[in-house]
């Protein structure tokens, strides 16, 4: 072993260690920010390690430097700009976009190696080695393409650029996707048999498969899909690691792949959906329209903002249940104003965070943190549920399915078994909502019919603004 090899080995080892510590640190609120920077540092370190290795051995041609600089400047620049500009509410689609590009990168590497075999030639050619090479190239292309097109479709759907076409809700889609899957398999074996041109077939059909699988999935399930695609991009990176013979790539890719799977599992649990039903079941509302047809509301009480303010003023303990609707209305800052007033009046305010509030686990926490809500006031579902009976007022803002008592009481409901917040246990529940439309699941919410529930109709932000005015008139929060 010569010096460059030893240096690269040490740097790689250090980078793996730091990446692992980074992921570990991301699991605690206190250390998360430093951990993220540590991981970023580890990534830069790995680049330095790789470049110094080539400088010390084969050298790097000027021409290569030029293309390295062009690629890195453009990629970093666009990445940094997007990361700085994007609003916090669009976090899921942003992650999807980044993720898709990671998959695209793995795909391109494999494609490049496949079309122009790298003349490195340290290893002697043998059949086993070349078979592994072809398999890893195929896997990298297959997974990379699915990650790319799947992520782009997911992003477009979350942004509202793409709707769910009708045919994708019928059985036809399974047939179409099976055709794509079989075609990729054929291309895969053809490629291993030495027919290099079938690589294009593989690229095309796996791209189509990515689209075909993601397109039928409804908006509510999209975060699960993004998380799964995140896992895929790790697998694609690991496969690319086999292509270019890099342990570091394999380790990092495998870690991300495994992490993504765990996270996907957690999200499915929170939504009471199995991964299989998310991937193959189509949109949940399409399934449930048949079962929830009987769902007419019989006992809706609507009330004015003024009444709501009066009840809040008299309360001792208030729990806020925020949902994605709150974020869409960009009302988290206005909400914070309201709660500040209540707190100044000595009223205890707590935010109940359902595991899938927002659009991804933890998304709501980020949005509320953006509005300066103290971290200690955010309570997780299991912690807050026993508190509802002792609570005077619950404000439900833009949340729907996660407060539906059907999940507990009605075994015929598609929601049955999903963990929910027991808001109906509180003395009074106010649901601030635009209209009577159903939540993501498309299922009637029994909570709205309960005698202790009042609906305050209107846009969340406007209602909260009016509420601030009413509270002011009542002298709440003014010393």
């Amino acid at each position: 072993m010569n010096l460059p090899v030893i240096i690269k080995f040490v740097i790689d080892l250090l980078a793996v260690l730091l990446l692992a510590l980074g992921i570990k640190g991301l699991s605690k609120v206190k250390s998360a920010r430093d951990a993220n920077r540590l991981a970023a540092f580890a990534m830069s370190l790995s680049v330095v390690g790789l470049l110094s290795y080539y400088l010390g051995t084969s050298g790097i041609a000027i021409q290569s430097w030029i293309w390295i600089i062009i690629g890195s400047i453009l990629g970093s620049l666009f990445g940094a700009i997007l990361a700085k500009k994007v609003p916090m509410t669009s976090m899921p689609e942003t992650v999807a976009l980044f993720n898709g590009c990671g998959g695209m990168s793995s795909l391109l590497v494999a494609l490049g190696v496949a079309i122009f075999p790298i003349s490195g030639g340290q290893e002697n050619f043998d059949f086993f080695k070349s078979l592994i090479n072809e398999v890893s190239i195929s896997v990298s292309i297959f997974v990379g393409a699915i990650t790319f097109t799947g992520s782009i479709v997911a992003m477009a759907k979350l942004q509202g650029w793409l709707s769910t076409p009708g045919w994708t809700q019928s059985k036809v889609r399974h047939f179409v996707n099976i055709v794509f899957a079989v075609a990729s398999l054929i291309a895969f074996f053809d490629l291993i048999n030495g027919n290099t041109s079938s690589i294009w077939l593989l690229v095309i059909v796996s791209s189509l498969l990515g689209i075909g699988v993601t397109l039928p999935i409804g908006g509510a399930d999209m975060p699960v899909v993004i998380s799964l695609l995140n896992s895929y991009s790790g697998i694609a990176a690991a496969a690319a690691g086999f292509v270019v013979d890099s342990q570091l790539l394999i380790v990092a890719g495998a870690m991300v792949g495994a992490a993504g799977l765990i996270l996907t599992q957690v999200m499915c649990k929170g939504m009471n959906r199995s991964l299989v039903s998310v991937l193959f079941g189509g949109s949940l509302s399409a399934q449930s329209t048949a079962t929830s047809g009987s769902g007419e509301y019989t006992n809706i009480t609507s009330c004015s903002v003024e009444e709501c303010a009066l009840t809040l003023e008299a309360a001792n303990k208030v729990i806020i249940v925020p949902g994605y609707g709150l974020a869409v209305a960009q009302a988290q800052h206005t909400l914070r104003e309201v709660t500040k007033k209540l707190e100044q009046n000595g009223i205890e305010v707590v935010y109940a965070i359902h595991p899938v509030a927002g659009r991804m686990p933890g998304h709501m926490n980020v949005l509320l943190a953006e509005a300066d809500v103290p971290y200690e006031q955010l309570k997780e579902m299991d912690v807050v549920n026993p508190d509802f009976p002792a609570t005077d007022v619950v404000l439900v803002l833009g949340a729907n399915d996660v407060v539906n008592p059907q999940a507990k009481n009605d075994s015929s409901s598609p929601l049955y078994g999903m963990p929910v917040l027991d808001v109906q246990e509180a003395r009074t529940v106010f649901v601030i909502k635009r209209g009577m439309s159903a939540g993501y699941s498309g299922i009637k919410n029994d909570l709205f019919d309960l005698p202790n529930t009042s609906m305050v109709f209107g846009d969340a932000k406007k209602v909260l603004n009016d509420l601030i005015g009413e509270l002011k008139d009542l002298g709440v929060g003014e010393k």
Binding site: G75, G79, C101
Partner: protein
């Protein structure tokens, strides 16, 4: 590296990933996902390798460069956006009077 030892690396890396993520509070799932996503941009190393080994083959240099661009878009954007999210969590103690 022999194929078998690379497989070991794959196996141990996966186990490490499962173990590391197992105990994360839901609060941090979105930042974690975005951070892990940034790490998956490690394919930038493969892209770099491609460019260095291209030996003047211009199409390969271009493919490598585009691949590097995509990967770095993923890495840089991913880490920045994660940092932005996490900054919101750490900002509060100083804001509280």
């Amino acid at each position: 590296m022999s194929f078998i030892s690379l497989l070991w690396v794959l196996l141990l890396g996966s186990l490490l990933g499962l173990e590391l993520i197992g105990k994360v509070p839901p609060t941090l799932h979105t930042p974690l996902m975005s951070g892990a996503n940034a790490i998956s941009g490690i394919t930038m190393l493969a892209a770099l390798t491609l460019i260095v080994k291209a030996e003047g083959n211009v199409p390969l240099l271009i493919i490598g460069s585009v691949s590097l661009g995509f990967a770095l878009f993923n890495v840089v954007g991913g880490f920045f956006v994660t940092d932005r999210m996490l900054a919101m969590f750490s900002r509060k103690p100083s804001n509280k009077k």
